[in-house]
Symmetry: C2
Subunit: 169 residues, 2 copies
Amino acid sequence: MATDDLMTRALESLGLDGPPSVEAIHGLTDLADVPESMTITEVAGLLDISPHTLRYYERAGLVEVARDSNGHRVYDAEAVRRLVFLTRMRLSGMPVRTLQHYIALADAGEHTVPERLDMLLEHRDTICRRIRELTLSLAATEYKIATYGGSTGPDVRAPAAATETGRTA
Amino acid sequence: MATDDLMTRALESLGLDGPPSVEAIHGLTDLADVPESMTITEVAGLLDISPHTLRYYERAGLVEVARDSNGHRVYDAEAVRRLVFLTRMRLSGMPVRTLQHYIALADAGEHTVPERLDMLLEHRDTICRRIRELTLSLAATEYKIATYGGSTGPDVRAPAAATETGRTA
DNA sequence: GCTTGCGTTCGAGCGTGCTCGAAGTCATAG
DNA sequence: CTATGACTTCGAGCACGCTCGAACGCAAGC
């Protein structure tokens, strides 16, 4: 069996064949419809995280959020945009510690732009590495599924000697 | 700016353009050169994890490892192959709990093959989802890098109204 | 007036996955 | 004879990222 095919199929099964422009631009711009101000549950719903987590982020110093007359949080567009960024970064694996550093820089002013840019570049590399790792793991998993015999190792060599359990469907 | 280009560049920067057959087959078969038996540090070196972690996996019931006359662990080829599988799965995000379940099934015998296969299929889907997530995050990060202005949000709309910090290099 | 509901603060707790330290055993080197 | 060093077991500790519970506040509805 051609291993190129294997990898190709693995990549195809991701659904990355066609131009994903619609998805992509949505992922990038779904923050265009941010209202003037939102409650904590609204933001939680928007970002698909819990109010608990939002309060945690605030405690961690990642966002400042104003209060209304009742002491309830009022998220303005700025805060929501920041949170969109933060959750994106979290989702792609950036640690909270790193985000704290980033935010501290952002709040420190313009002159920290180069360092922030460096952080983003490094994070980009991290994501790339991770995707490569996952792609390889995916190929390995596909392979194991395809040749499944029940042994814990793929048993790459041993074309006719199924030692433990023989089944190749 | 064309968002297709953005995504395309993002994908290209992964280095997935050419056929990665060599890499792939290596990732799949580097367990072919497994010696008859290995010490804990050798296995740790092979898998790039710590001896501590190997003992932890054993305590967790993920592998059984024999001892020599000194009470030192002796990893046979079977154990090493299993550990290769386990670390691959861990690396791709499968929880230890799930692996415990999988291993329990594998040790339970042939009749658990369908369930094990199901687990692998599900894990494959999980990896695919994760890769898609990361790919999107990568595109977003690339975008933010490209349009970097220092604000926390990408500021997709607002071509001339830089509210916080105006800089678009 | 009282309940219901949605919010608040604070600190503690938890699940995951290691990671470490202490105390001991053995084998080889000097 | 005694280090030195690689290994053992056991239980505890830790970093991370939430997640939760308790006690409270306010505002609208019955």
